[in-house]
């Protein structure tokens, strides 16, 4: 990661997702003095995944704060700072430990602007690595984005590639409202992508169509995008043309892009690793089913984790959706059509 710390503006470089996060943090701290970073181990250690590596050395302990070990505190401090002219970017070390942050996130961050009729606001970002697949211990593989997405007044953003991580994190930090930014750690050190470090943000509230197709719409986000693209390749070989949509902003949902696609393809498969029921997939499926009622050639399918706890890592592959599961779901769409 040493290279990352020496990057100068507009330099182009090949980065993995983790480095892209680090790059965006460097960029924005350099260009906006009000941005501060806080969390457990984010300072001297540069984060347990090294996402905040080099920040403390560069911007000092006043802007890069190792906090005591308390997630409610991290969220609450961020609310306090955000209302006073700072833009805190806080890290929750793993999404499995985010629950104590919920009261501050839901009761305050999400409501401060609404409650004060715009007098106060909470431009804060809560970053957290999320999801399974890295053989981590218990509580280190959760993907509970649905819990956050239900709450009004927040944005939930999940990148699926280095470039989107860079552009979306910049957008999240600049957004005047609270954003929960979930980083799929399974692809933290996945494929590299060329990134131009020019501070250009990507739009929030927008899906990204990664691949166009005519027979079925595959909708996913985060690490599952990789499996979904792989499935699309496999389907192509079988003569099925799949459109792949990366939702990216989970809250609020850009349904128009998804609906437009399904209107064209007539089939829809949603892929996520969170437990199946009451998850983000349900909302998308409900809306697609409603809005594409006359266009759907087959019922919307969901390929998801199971309604049980993420098993410890020896069995996590039994839980996580894979590309074969996606292909099977698509085939079901054709059988039932």
């Amino acid at each position: 990661m040493a290279a990352v710390n020496q990057v100068t503006s507009a330099e182009q470089m090949d980065s993995v997702l983790l480095e892209a996060v680090n790059l965006a943090l460097h960029y924005e701290m350099e260009h906006d003095e009000s941005v501060v970073v806080l969390g457990e181990d984010v300072g001297t250690n540069g984060g347990v995944f090294r996402a905040t590596s080099g920040l403390k050395e560069k911007f000092g302990f006043k802007r890069v704060m190792d906090t005591p070990l308390a997630e409610a505190l991290i969220a609450g401090l961020s609310v306090g700072m955000a209302t006073q002219g700072l833009k805190p970017v806080a890290e929750i070390q793993f999404m499995g430990f985010i629950f104590p942050a919920f009261e501050h996130l839901f009761c305050h961050a999400a409501r401060m602007r609404n409650r004060t009729r715009g007098r106060m606001s909470c431009p804060m970002v809560l970053r957290a690595p999320y999801g399974g697949g890295i053989h981590a211990p218990e509580h280190h593989s959760e993907s509970t984005e649905a819990l956050i997405a239900h709450t009004p007044g927040i944005r939930v953003v999940i990148p699926s590639s280095p470039a989107r991580a860079y552009g979306l994190l910049l957008a999240a930090i600049r957004d005047p409202d609270p954003v929960v930014f979930l980083e799929p750690k399974r692809i933290y050190r996945g494929a590299k992508q060329s990134i131009i470090n020019n501070g250009e943000a990507l739009p929030l509230d927008t899906c990204f169509t990664l691949r166009t197709g005519t027979d079925v719409t595959l909708i996913s986000w985060g690490a599952c995008i990789a499996d979904t693209l792989q499935a699309a390749d496999a389907l192509a070989e079988k003569g099925i043309s799949a459109e792949v949509i990366d939702v990216a902003t989970i809250k609020p949902l850009d349904m128009r892009t998804m609906i437009t696609s399904v209107v064209n393809t007539g089939r829809c498969v949603i892929v996520h690793e969170a437990a199946r029921s009451f998850a983000v997939g349900a909302e998308i499926a409900a809306q697609v089913s409603e809005k594409c009622f006359l266009n759907l050639l087959a019922p919307v399918q969901r390929v998801t984790g199971f309604d049980t706890h993420m098993p410890y890592f020896k069995n996590e592959h039994f839980y996580l959706p894979n590309s074969a599961d996606i292909v099977a779901a698509v085939e079901k769409c054709f059988k039932e059509a």
Partner: protein
């Protein structure tokens, strides 16, 4: 009160490690006599002002309860008996301090320049009640103890921005049991934050008495574990609360960190208008507490000093009543908020992808207007 456990033990292997001491601040006793020398800040003018504010606070409180009882307002938490606490804070705050209130700080609100009608709006179920006030001050906080962490965050922001001000936060005795209280004191100690935490220890958290909240004899001693300074004050003595704030500011100015102030008060009224305190405490207890209430004792002191008399009292009471009547009129005549306001200020940049929500609301309104 429970016995203090933290006494010396003489047993094998033990040696002394450290000692801590806790103090109390009081100037006026319950009859308005000076138990300590009159402090410098307490000029004649200061004393009269403090008294007048406290009376206005009480008059407002009575009116608010009356509005609730007559169906013109919602559930309201009275500050009866805790006027010294709120007023001392309001007087102790500087303009650019960040004030982070809980929900029973009507006295302090009054002095922060809030329109009192805004308070009525808030408790009347209208978000516009939190729309005004000093831009850095927080709105009323309902989820217990969460405000403490916001205040710590605000204090950290002041420190980061090199502003020489305080974040001042209030909380009830019940609130001191919640994790946020402790986490915030703890970070204030670790980061040496310019934070002042004032506990309105009014002896009850709804029905739960103080000794069920905590086995320690004082709440001030909760400062010790966080490595910050703690002190207990007579919360019915407006001078004591103010003195503690002065000292806290000095401590922060000297970069000596945060202060926890436990103010001993008594909630003379019900928890809120939705509560009936007679279910869980005796009339006797309340009667005794009335002996110590803050307004009478300061009035006595003023009488003794020749600064106040019956005529002034009558005039001031009238003025307060008149002012509060105006406030009520303002509250009652404000035009209704729109239904659409629920989407105003939800996000600064309205997500176009949410437009369906507006359509759904429009449909609903059409149906309602039929």
């Amino acid at each position: 009160m429970k016995a203090v456990n933290q006494a010396k033990v003489t047993a094998q292997g033990h040696s002394p490690l450290m000692e801590f001491s806790l103090q109390k601040i009081q100037f006026l006793d319950e009859d308005g006599n000076w138990v300590s020398e009159r402090p410098e800040f307490a000029t004649d003018e200061w004393l009269v002002q403090a008294y007048q504010h406290m009376v206005l606070n009480r008059v407002f409180d009575q009116k608010a309860i009356a509005l609730q009882r007559t169906g013109q307002m919602g559930t309201y938490p009275s500050s009866l008996g805790q006027e010294a606490f709120g007023i001392a804070i309001g007087m102790g705050l500087q303009k650019d301090d960040v004030f982070v209130p809980y929900y029973r700080d009507h006295g302090a609100h009054l002095l922060r320049g809030h329109k009192l009608s805004d308070l009525l709006l808030y408790w009347g179920g209208d978000e516009r009640g939190s729309a005004h006030g000093p831009k850095q001050d927080f709105p009323i906080c309902v989820p217990i103890a969460t405000q403490i962490t916001h205040a710590a965050g605000a204090a950290a922001a002041l420190k980061i921005q090199n502003k020489n001000q305080l974040a001042v936060v209030t909380i009830g005795d019940g609130g001191t049991s919640k994790g946020d209280f402790f986490e915030s004191l703890n970070v204030a100690g670790a980061w040496q934050l310019p934070l002042v935490v004032l506990v309105n220890n009014n002896q009850y958290a709804i029905s739960v008495p103080r000794d069920i909240q905590c086995g320690a004899p004082t709440l001030a001693q909760k400062a010790i574990g966080a490595g910050i300074y703690g002190v207990q004050v007579d919360g019915n003595d407006v001078l004591a609360v103010y003195q503690a704030m002065l000292e806290a500011r000095q401590r922060a100015d000297e970069h000596k960190g945060a202060t926890l102030i436990e103010a001993i008060t008594y909630r003379l009224g019900d928890h809120t208008t939705a509560d009936d305190a007679s279910r869980y405490r005796s009339n006797d207890e309340v009667k005794q507490a009335w002996q110590k209430e803050p307004i009478k004792r300061l009035q006595n002191a003023l009488f003794n000093l020749g600064l106040w008399d019956g005529e002034k009292e009558k005039q001031w009471q009238n003025q307060c009543a008149q002012h509060v009547d105006e406030v009520v009129a303002e509250y009652l005549t404000l035009e209704k908020d729109t239904a659409e306001s629920m989407f105003d200020h939800l996000y600064q940049d309205w997500p176009e992808v949410m437009n369906e929500q507006l359509d759904l609301l429009a449909d609903k309104l059409t149906r309602m207007n039929h």
